[in-house]
Symmetry: C2
């Protein structure tokens, strides 16, 4: 059971994007340096995020990316779905969607239920909340130093 780095990077990058809002677009070059993620790899992710309607791009000098809607309206599951193709490509499914098990198969129910749990959890968290958590952490770091 694992979550791809794609999803992890995408979330981090979006938090970073939302963190420092003067309303101005931020280039992925900046995010790449700040988050220590390969520039070219980030590009790929942002292409998907743009197509998925999570961010808008602004070209030319001074350009970059901005959120396509308020951070409070962007949920974790949307980010993950956009960046990874299939969440839980699952089970004893044949390519046609039928069950390839020899015996009747109750285990499908389990994986399906698990998928729902994950989905529910990710749906319950917005980018705004996540960013606020991050702001709190940053503040604590300053206080402690």
């Amino acid at each position: 059971m694992r979550m791809s780095t794609k999803a992890q990077y995408a979330v981090r990058a979006l938090v970073s994007l939302n963190l420092d809002n003067g309303g101005l677009p931020i280039s992925i070059k900046v995010i790449s340096e700040r988050e220590n993620i390969s520039l070219n790899y980030l590009e790929q992710l942002f292409v998907k995020l743009r197509r998925g309607g999570i961010v808008n791009s602004i070209r030319g000098p001074g350009g970059g990316y901005v959120l396509a809607r308020p951070a409070a309206d962007i949920r974790m599951d949307q980010i993950v779905d956009t960046v990874e193709e299939a969440m839980m490509p699952l089970s004893c499914m044949n390519t046609d969607g039928s069950c390839g098990c020899g015996t009747a198969c109750a285990t499908q129910l389990v994986w399906h239920g698990l998928g729902q749990q994950i989905k529910n959890f990710l749906t319950s968290i917005t980018l705004e909340e996540l960013t606020n958590d991050c702001r709190r952490q940053l503040k604590n770091q300053v206080v402690n130093s």
Copy 2:
């Protein structure tokens, strides 16, 4: 986000093992045919399951595998943990466990929380429950045919 076929096969195989209990051991050859899973691959899984204390093996003719304890005492998370090495090898962790993020990183909290959710879910289901679900399904199939 995906669950390996290892985990899926292991669960199916164990349900199959528990389903047909005359108290007699069942060979993986039978399970392999019944569940349509490669024999040699199943062997690998059962080696792990045995080492993990989920099943016991009985060698020689008429031998096979039996559950090492009552199905009601075998939980899904134990099966998955036994058969996959690392559940959620996670995050922006460096190899030493520290956080490799440039900025303070709240996203770790999310993945950690997600891991807990998954764990909780899998912990809440026993092999016995799963097998009963399967028995119900089989009964319905007979009625409908």
